[in-house]
């Protein structure tokens, strides 16, 4: 894959605070990359560096094969969409879209053509004569996307574009952004703290913490093979269950907790592990089966239900394995009640084992 945006050894310091350190990232042509992380992890900062809105302390940035490290934002071939829309309040939608083109002294017909195309794609033609004040949140964000669109650039940067919208609009616009990407096939870099947005939109997700990319991979891999405890805990709702115990990797691998040993049959260790290593077994709530399904699983156990949360589409229930709290998710058709004894089971091969000391996947 030819790389469209490429960040090499990027560092950014504010005074003595290192926000980003030796960060390297390659985004392929036409790829949808999501930067995901908790607030303050440096994801927006990274995006601002790529856009050229922040001066970096060290490293290089390439966009479409050109070294743009010292270029002005306008010369980088990017369009950007902000969380607060950042529309010019005193200009009509049309002028908002054409402002950048007018600044670049583009011929009037060309401006006309591009505005028409962008407003057609985003279906905002009826709004062209209005001012941002008269638009709803969703419409405003569509205009903001349009402003990036008219620039006819290779790379789109989105800085939490949906975070100011309510839940319904957010899922509507999410689909629209996905549709837009499929139609335009531009490179898009999208910053969010919402894992649903990340999972649904991304070709690849970069999960960041403290200015460092923890894992960069497809949504499926990030979800099923988290490389460390942070990624495992950050992705997924309800969050992954973490059971404390000891890893025995030699011979017949197993995970030992108080009065209970779970065989790790079929689990592929990534690193050589010894015996009696303090470890953590991570299990996704939906990977735990209940009732008849559980008995077919490689490992099953009797357990008592503590709390039941019916979600409509499915049910989340709380129970205990070896005295440690565990949630599991099952079909809402299965009748569950607090105090009820059930069989729960799982396939250890689908779990994730982490070294407790380093937090890395074992």
């Amino acid at each position: 894959m030819q790389s469209s945006v490429s960040v090499k050894d990027l560092s950014l310091n504010f005074g003595s605070v290192n926000v980003l350190q030796n960060l390297t990232l390659d985004v392929g042509q036409g790829e949808f990359l999501v930067l995901l992380g908790p607030s303050g992890c440096g994801k927006s900062t990274l995006l601002n560096c790529i856009a050229g809105l922040l001066d970096i302390s060290a490293g290089q940035i390439f966009i479409s094969g050109k070294n743009v490290t010292w270029e002005e934002p306008k010369d980088r071939g990017i369009g950007m969409v902000f969380q607060s829309y950042a529309l010019y309040p005193q200009m009509t939608v049309e002028n908002n879209l054409s402002f950048g083109l007018k600044v670049a002294r583009m011929p009037a017909e060309e401006i006309q053509r591009r505005v028409a195309r962008a407003s057609e794609i985003l279906q905002i033609q009826p709004l062209l004569k209005r001012k941002p004040m008269e638009l709803s949140g969703g419409q405003r964000q569509r205009v903001a996307i349009g402003r990036a669109l008219v620039r006819d650039v290779d790379v789109f940067l989105f800085d939490e574009p949906l975070s100011n919208l309510d839940a319904k609009l957010r899922s509507d616009l999410r689909i629209e952004i996905k549709r837009l990407h499929q139609r335009l096939k531009n490179t898009m870099i999208y910053v969010t703290h919402d894992q649903i947005e990340a999972m649904t939109l991304a070709d690849r997700i970069a999960i960041m913490k403290n200015g460092v990319i923890q894992q960069l991979d497809t949504p499926h891999t990030v979800y099923n093979h988290p490389v460390n405890l942070f990624v495992a805990g950050f992705i997924g709702s309800p969050t992954m269950n973490f059971l404390k115990g000891q890893i025995n990797a030699t011979g017949k691998a197993s995970f030992a907790m108080e009065n209970l040993t779970v065989p790790l049959t079929g689990y592929k260790f990534e690193t050589g592990m010894g015996d009696k290593v303090e470890g953590i077994l991570g299990l996704r709530p939906e990977h735990i089966a209940v009732g008849e399904d559980a008995k077919k699983m490689p490992f099953s156990i009797e357990s008592e239900i503590e709390i039941v949360e019916p979600m409509g589409s499915d049910t989340v229930a709380w129970t205990k394995i070896a005295g440690q709290s565990v949630t599991f998710r099952c079909s809402s058709d299965i009748p569950l009640a607090p105090g009820q004894k059930v069989t729960i089971g799982f396939d250890p091969a689908r779990g994730s084992v982490f070294d407790a000391a380093s937090g890395l996947r074992a």
């Binding site: 856009a51 809105l53 829309y85 529309l87 950048g100 600044v103 670049a104």
Partner: protein
């Protein structure tokens, strides 16, 4: 509002919100007039009257003839209504040997105020814009220095500025007094503009940069159109401040350019025999008319802008 209408309102509220024995209170809670409330209103009315009374006396006196003024019935309405004192104050009241009235002073004040207001607003809004969005090295220090300037008493600086202007050959000239007003308006106006711009989402500035607008284009095409409310406030502050100024006019304006306030002072102080109270009153009202008009016309904007500029940032 009188106490009677309060009582009536209270009774109406009582009628709407009957206390039913079965269900207990329902509907709006009845409003009662307490003695304390009456006291507060009485106090407010008295205080308002206290401040309005001198204005009333000025007004009625300015429309009286001199013989009537001499009768010293301060609060009576004029018997022989005349606008002669107003005409005299404007055209022919004497300061020393010149009997030109206030008119030349008015013109001078306009000549001083208009350029001073325009220049100080342009410079201050640029200051605020640069300090907010183009955070160059030392921006914070410059800003603190400017704010500190707002706390320095003017009088301390008068003598150094006299010398400075003399060296620049600007002392006692129109450009000189305009410069002085511009400089002294800077701290408060910059503060006003900086706080206003700080309340504008920085993303708008970033979006303009991505759109390729530079320092001046962002300023003129994005920021200036957004600055109308705060500019209204700045204009009111500056026009009022510069129009009412006495000290700088006295020291820096020079003989040719004495502003209206100074002219007024000279008229009031010049007496031949009797003091022409009616003319003095008319002259005073005329001088105060410009700031008063501005305040009444744009009072709403004034409050709105102060709130917009001061709350955030």
């Amino acid at each position: 509002m009188t106490t009677d209408s309060f009582a009536a309102g209270g009774a109406a509220a009582m009628a709407r919100s009957k206390v039913d024995a079965a269900t207990g209170p329902s509907g709006p809670k009845p409003k009662r007039i307490s003695a304390g409330r009456i006291g507060i209103y009485a106090f407010l009315i008295i205080v308002a009257a206290f401040f309005c009374l001198p204005l009333y006396v000025m007004l009625v006196t300015s429309f009286k003839t001199m013989p009537e003024v001499r009768e010293a019935h301060l609060f009576d309405l004029p018997h022989n209504f005349t606008i002669e004192p107003w005409i005299k104050a404007w055209t022919s009241a004497c300061t020393g040997r010149d009997c030109t009235g206030l008119a030349p002073g008015f013109l001078n004040s306009v000549k001083i105020a208009v350029p001073s207001v325009i220049i100080s607003i342009i410079v201050a809004s640029l200051n605020g814009y640069a300090l907010t969005f183009w955070r160059y090295k030392g921006a914070e220090f410059m800003f603190n220095l400017l704010v500190f300037g707002a706390f320095v008493p003017y009088q301390v600086l008068v003598y150094p500025i006299i010398i400075g202007l003399r060296e620049l050959n600007l002392f006692a000239t129109l450009p000189g007094i305009i410069t002085v007003h511009t400089i002294f308006g800077m701290p408060i106006l910059t503060l006003l503009y900086r706080n206003y711009y700080a309340s504008i989402p920085v993303e708008i500035f970033k979006a303009a940069r991505i759109d390729g607008a530079g320092f001046w284009q962002t300023y003129f095409r994005v920021m200036v159109p957004l600055s109308i409310p705060i500019t209204t406030v700045a204009m009111i502050l500056q026009v009022t401040g510069i129009w009412n100024d006495f000290l700088f006019g006295l020291v820096f304006a020079g003989r040719e350019n004495i502003p209206m306030t100074l002219q007024l002072n000279n008229i009031v102080k010049t007496t031949f025999g009797t003091v022409e109270y009616n003319v003095n009153m008319a002259a005073t009202i005329l001088t105060a008319l410009v700031p008063l008009t501005i305040y009444f016309v744009s009072g709403k904007w004034f409050v709105r802008g102060i709130a917009a500029g001061a709350v955030k940032g």
